[in-house]
């Protein structure tokens, strides 16, 4: 009863995810909306990279947050909202593409380059639309699970531990998968970077 009379604490950019999750779990709609606003760009981009279709990514983003809302009370690690919602998004995308998260990765041992790939010069990198197109294509040719793991780490900054927990893989497996994905990405990108050996 007292809770009804208490003035809600303001939500700002400095409010940690952990507090937002607790408040959303207690039924504060604004707290869940704040979590949405904080992570929707990341989730939408992740889904666009997995599904390669803007409209499908929009639908999958809405489905992912609706599921997150429905299952929020199950999130015990209150500071783990981002890896958790990205895991949900990954599952939504894989359901759409009929990829099973826990399948063995054997069939994905697609040509990983073993030679040293000539290095780019990040100082003279020209980040134009043309390069971004090549970058997106290089990401797209990676197998779905390997791409998801690579994106979780490189684009969305998740720890190896969080990725391992999300996929049900061991940490060495996560590191190996990301390493292989990285080599393939570099090999695809290299001709478009004007790098020097």
């Amino acid at each position: 009863m007292l809770r009804l009379l208490r003035r809600p604490v303001a939500i700002g950019p400095e409010t940690p995810d952990e507090a937002l999750v607790r408040r959303a779990q207690a039924g504060e709609g604004h707290a869940f909306q704040a979590l949405f606003e904080r992570h929707v760009t990341s989730v939408r981009r992740f889904l666009r990279d997995l599904l390669r279709d803007g409209d499908a990514a929009d639908d999958a983003t809405q489905e992912s947050f609706a599921r997150a809302h429905a299952q929020l009370e199950r999130l015990g690690d209150h500071d783990r909202f981002k890896p958790w919602v990205l895991g949900i998004a990954r599952n939504v995308a894989f359901e759409a593409r009929r990829v099973r998260v826990h399948d063995v990765l054997d069939e994905e041992d697609e040509g990983v380059p073993d030679a040293v790939i000539p290095g780019p010069d990040p100082e003279s990198l020209l980040l134009d639309a043309e390069l971004e197109k090549h970058f997106n294509t290089a990401l797209a040719v990676l197998s779905p699970r390997r791409r998801a793991a690579l994106l979780m780490r490189l684009d969305h900054g998740l720890s190896y531990e969080d990725i391992a927990a999300s996929f049900g893989w061991s940490i060495p497996t996560v590191k190996n998968e990301i390493h292989r994905a990285r080599l393939k990405l570099r090999a695809s990108l290299q001709p478009h970077l004007g790098g020097r050996p």
Partner: protein, 150 residues
């Protein structure tokens, strides 16, 4: 020093090192071709990912989610759950008595056990909404409770 520790170079690009360690790693990479090569790639990858970030149009997405996450009036929700639980329990009891006396009423919603820690729910529909692959095993404890109270 960093040659055997690729994680240090990545931590450098992610600004996760103390100023002292970062300076040491930078100094090493400036004299070691192998580490400089790796560092150049790591910085290029980071620049490419950063260039795309935050450009997606997402403002239209909340409306669809707001409609699906509007809070239901709590007393009615609880009553609905209680009714659903009673119905489930009745069905289960009926089945137990009629056909399969050895069936365990607590059922695992997901076919594959994903984790050693089951999650108990009082929401009878929650298990069916849990997507695969989150590392959770969902157990509906509700039928048990409802049975016990009878």
């Amino acid at each position: 020093m960093t040659c055997g520790k690729p994680g240090l170079l990545e931590a450098l690009t992610r600004s996760e090192l103390t100023a002292t360690t970062a300076a040491e790693v930078e100094a090493h990479a400036s004299t070691c071709a192998r580490c400089r090569h790796e560092l150049n790639w790591l910085r290029t990858e980071r620049a490419l990912f950063r260039a795309r970030a935050g450009r997606d149009e997402v403002s239209h997405l909340w409306q669809g989610i707001a409609a699906r996450t509007a809070p239901a009036p709590r007393p009615w929700k609880q009553l609905a759950f209680a009714l659903a639980a009673s119905a489930l329990a009745l069905l289960s009891v009926q089945q137990l008595l009629q056909a399969r006396p050895t069936v365990n009423v607590a059922q695992t919603a997901e076919s594959e056990p994903l984790s050693s820690e089951p999650i108990e729910s009082t929401d009878p529909t929650a298990c069916s909404r849990l997507p695969e692959g989150l590392g959770f095993r969902c157990t509906m404890s509700l039928s048990d409770d409802a049975l016990a109270s009878r």
